[in-house]
C-alpha cells in the first residue's frame, strides 16, 4: 500500500544502520502518512530501537536519508534543527522523566524553554496535557511516587507538550500488566485520532500491535532488512512468509527464539 508523497510525514529512504562499521539493517524504505499509527516491529536485537534513534536524530544512518515533515533529520543544523526537533515528541521506554522535577514541572519543561507563555498559562497547558492522560491530580507528585504505567502516561503528556505533529513511542507498553498496557494503547489511539498526531511506535507486544497499529514494517535480525509491510491483521492472517507467521503466532524456532 503506497503512500502519496504529499501525505507522507515520515519518509525513510534506502536507509542503512549500524555501529562501528557493522551494518545491522540496510535498504530500509517506508513512509508514514499523516495521522497514522505506524508500527516498527521486530524481535529483540533486530534493530528497531536503533531505527527509532535514527528517526529522532540520535543515531546518524550509515546511508540513505530520513525525512521528517520534508526535512532531512541528519542534514539540518543549527536553528533549523532546533525547530524540527520541536515538531516531534518522543516517549522513551523508561519514561525518562526527570526525577528532581514534579510531574507538572516535567510536562512544563518544554513550554518553559520554547514558549513565551505566562507562567500560569504554561501551568494551564501542562495541566491540560496531564488531563488528557488522566493524571491532573498527580501534578504535584514526583515521578518516583508514581507507578510504571503512570510514569509512561506522564511521559506521553510531556512528549505532547508542544503539540508535535509526530509522536515517537519506544515500547510504550513494555513492562506493564495487560490491563495497564491496554489503557496505554487506548490512550495513544485516542490522542492520535483526536489531535491528528502521527504516531510511530516501536514494539513487539502483539496485543498492542493488533489493537492500535494501522500499518507496520517488520524488521528481521537475520535478513537485516524489512521482511514485511502492511496492516498487522493482514500480515498475521495472509502472509506466506514463515518468519512473519512465526512473529505473529509467537512460535519459537529450534533455537528457542520466539521471533524470526
Amino acid at each position: 500500500m503506497s503512500v502519496r508523497a504529499e501525505d507522507a510525514t515520515v519518509v525513510v529512504d534506502e536507509v542503512a544502520l549500524g555501529y562501528d562499521g557493522t551494518i545491522i539493517q540496510r535498504d530500509l524504505s517506508f513512509s508514514v502518512r499523516r495521522g497514522e499509527v505506524f508500527g516498527i516491529l521486530g524481535g529483540s536485537g533486530s534493530g528497531k530501537s536503533t531505527l527509532l534513534r535514527a528517526l529522532i536524530g540520535l543515531h546518524p544512518p550509515l546511508g540513505g536519508r530520513i525525512l521528517l515533515e520534508g526535512e532531512d533529520i541528519s542534514a539540518v543544523q543549527g536553528a533549523a534543527r532546533g525547530r524540527l526537533l520541536r515538531r516531534f515528541g518522543v516517549m522513551y521506554q523508561s519514561g525518562a522523566l526527570f526525577g528532581s522535577l514534579t510531574v507538572l514541572e516535567n510536562v512544563r519543561l518544554p513550554l518553559d524553554e520554547f514558549t513565551d507563555l505566562e507562567p500560569e498559562e504554561k501551568d494551564l497547558v501542562a495541566l491540560a496535557k496531564l488531563d488528557q492522560v488522566g493524571l491532573c491530580t498527580a501534578a504535584r507528585k514526583l515521578p518516583s511516587q508514581l507507578s510504571g504505567g503512570m510514569q509512561k502516561r506522564v511521559a506521553i503528556a510531556r512528549a505532547m507538550a508542544l503539540d508535535p505533529g509526530i509522536l515517537f513511542l519506544d515500547e510504550p507498553s513494555a513492562g506493564l500488566d495487560p490491563i495497564i498496557s491496554a489503557d496505554i494503547d487506548a490512550l495513544i489511539c485516542r490522542l492520535s485520532r483526536r489531535f491528528c498526531i502521527t504516531s510511530v511506535i516501536v514494539t513487539h507486544e502483539l496485543p498492542s500491535i493488533l489493537a492500535i497499529i494501522d500499518r507496520c514494517v517488520l524488521l528481521d535480525i537475520d535478513a537485516r532488512t524489512i521482511i514485511a509491510e502492511g496492516r498487522p491483521v493482514d500480515l498475521r492472517d495472509h502472509s506466506t512468509d514463515p518468519r512473519v507467521r512465526r512473529f505473529f503466532r509467537r512460535d519459537g524456532d529450534e533455537s528457542g527464539r520466539a521471533v524470526p
Binding site: 526525577g99 507563555l117 497547558v125 488528557q132 491530580t137
Partner: protein, 376 residues
C-alpha cells in the same frame, strides 16, 4: 496557502455585546502578540457580555488556545465569561482539552510549609535513624568479615584486586601531584619566616614532621574519599537503583559479604601504602625548595634524615589504616542506602564524600589529642 498573520478586532454588536474577533494563526509563535493586543483593546472597554468570533481562525495549537480559554473564562474581561463561536472542529478539540475548573481544584496543593519545631524534630529523628543504620552496618560488616575469614573460598578476591587497582594504583598520579605540591608550598611558605632567624635549615624539620604525622595521611585520605569513596557510593547506589542489590538478596547472597568487605579490605590495605608514597612525595617537594634556596644535596639529606622520625612515620601510617577503612565503609554504606532515581545516586555520592572528610578530620583530631596526652 499560508495562513494570515493573527489579527484581533474588538467591536460591539447591535445588542451591545462585546465581540472579540480573532483571525489568522493563533499558536505558540503568535500568542504573545495576540495577548498584548487583546489587553490593549479591552483595557478601557466596559464589557457586559462577551462573544468570541473564531470564524477567521485558520490554524492554532494548544499554546494559542490558551488565549481562547482565558477569554472564555473571563480572564481579560474582569470575570465576564464569553461564548466561542465558529471555531473549526480541529481547534475545538484542542479547546475542550483544557481541564475544567472542578478538575483544577482537585490538583493537589504543593507541600505545606513545615514549622521550625517540626524541622528540628525531623532532623533529630533522622540523626537517630542514621546512627542506628550505621551501627547496624558496622555490625554486618564485622559479621561478614568473620564469615569471610571462616570461608575464604567464598570470598571474591578478584573484586579485591580490582578495587586495589582502581582505588590504589590509579590514584598514584593524583596523590603524587597533591602531595608534591603540598610539600612544595609548605616549604616555600616557611622559607621567609625561618630566614628572619637564620633558621632556613629547619625547613626540613617542618616538612618532615608535617608530612609524616599529618599531611601525608590526611591528603591521601581526602584524595581517597574524593576518588574512591564517591565511586563506591555511586557504584552501589546505581546497583540499588537497578535492583541488582535486590537480586543478590533474593539469590540468598549478602550484599555486604558480596560487595562491601572487599572494598573495605582493599582500602584498608592500600591506604598505608599510598600514605607512605604521599609522605615521600611531599618531602621531595620540600627538598626541591631547599635545593632552590641554596642547600646542598648532602645537607638536605642529612637534615631530613635527622628530622624524620620512625615514630612519626608509624603514627601517620597507623592513622591511615583507620582512614582507609572509614572512607570505604562510609562510601559503601551511603551507596547501600541510596533511594530511587539518578538524584538519589548523586546525593549518596555527595553524602559519602562529606561524611568521609568530616570523619577523617574528627579522627585525626582524636589522634592528635591522644598523642599529646600519651606524650607522643
Amino acid at each position: 496557502m499560508l495562513p494570515l498573520p493573527p489579527a484581533v478586532e474588538v467591536r460591539e454588536d447591535a445588542q451591545g455585546a462585546t465581540v472579540v474577533a480573532l483571525r489568522g494563526e493563533l499558536d505558540v509563535g503568535t500568542v504573545s502578540r495576540v495577548r498584548r493586543e487583546l489587553i490593549a483593546q479591552l483595557a478601557e472597554r466596559p464589557v457586559r457580555s462577551l462573544e468570541i468570533d473564531a470564524t477567521g481562525l485558520e490554524r492554532g495549537d494548544m499554546s494559542g488556545m490558551v488565549i481562547l480559554h482565558q477569554l472564555r473564562s473571563g480572564v481579560f474581561t474582569r470575570g465576564v465569561r464569553g461564548r466561542v463561536l465558529g471555531l473549526r472542529p480541529e481547534l475545538e478539540n484542542l479547546l475542550v482539552a483544557f481541564p475544567s475548573e472542578e478538575t483544577l481544584r482537585q490538583v493537589e496543593a504543593g507541600p505545606a510549609p513545615v514549622s521550625v519545631p517540626e524541622e528540628v524534630g525531623a532532623a533529630t529523628l533522622s540523626l537517630a535513624r542514621d546512627a542506628r543504620v550505621q551501627i547496624t552496618f558496622l555490625g554486618s560488616v564485622v559479621q561478614a568479615l568473620a564469615t569471610a575469614a571462616r570461608t575464604p573460598r567464598r570470598t571474591r578476591f578478584a573484586e579485591l584486586v580490582r578495587v586495589f587497582d582502581t582505588a590504589g594504583a590509579n590514584a598514584l598520579p593524583l596523590v603524587t601531584l597533591v602531595s608534591l605540591l603540598t610539600g612544595f608550598v609548605i616549604a616555600f611558605e616557611s622559607v621567609e619566616p625561618l630566614a628572619r632567624f637564620g633558621a632556613e635549615i629547619y625547613i626540613a624539620d617542618t616538612i618532615g614532621t608535617a608530612m609524616t604525622r599529618e599531611l601525608g595521611p590526611i591528603m591521601t585520605a581526602i584524595v581517597l574519599a574524593g576518588r574512591s569513596g564517591t565511586a563506591f557510593a555511586a557504584e552501589l547506589g546505581t546497583m540499588k537503583v537497578n535492583d541488582e542489590l535486590d537480586a543478590l538478596e533474593t539469590m540468598g547472597l549478602d550484599p555486604i559479604r558480596f560487595l562491601v568487605i572487599q572494598r573495605i579490605a582493599a582500602c584498608t590495605a592500600l591506604t598505608p601504602l599510598l600514605t607512605a608514597y604521599s609522605m615521600a612525595a611531599g618531602i621531595a617537594g620540600g627538598a626541591i625548595v631547599m635545593r632552590a634556596v641554596g642547600f646542598t644535596p648532602a645537607a638536605i639529606r642529612n637534615e631530613l634524615a635527622a628530622s624524620i622520625l620512625a615514630s612519626d612515620v608509624a603514627f601517620g601510617i597507623g592513622k591511615s589504616l583507620l582512614f582507609g577503612a572509614l572512607v570505604a565503609a562510609v562510601g559503601c554504606q551511603r551507596g547501600l542506602e541510596t533511594g530511587r532515581g539518578a538524584i538519589a545516586v548523586g546525593r549518596s555520592a555527595t553524602r559519602a564524600v562529606v561524611a568521609s572528610i568530616v570523619l577523617i578530620i574528627l579522627v585525626d583530631a582524636l589522634f592528635a589529642v591522644l598523642a599529646f596526652v600519651l606524650g607522643k
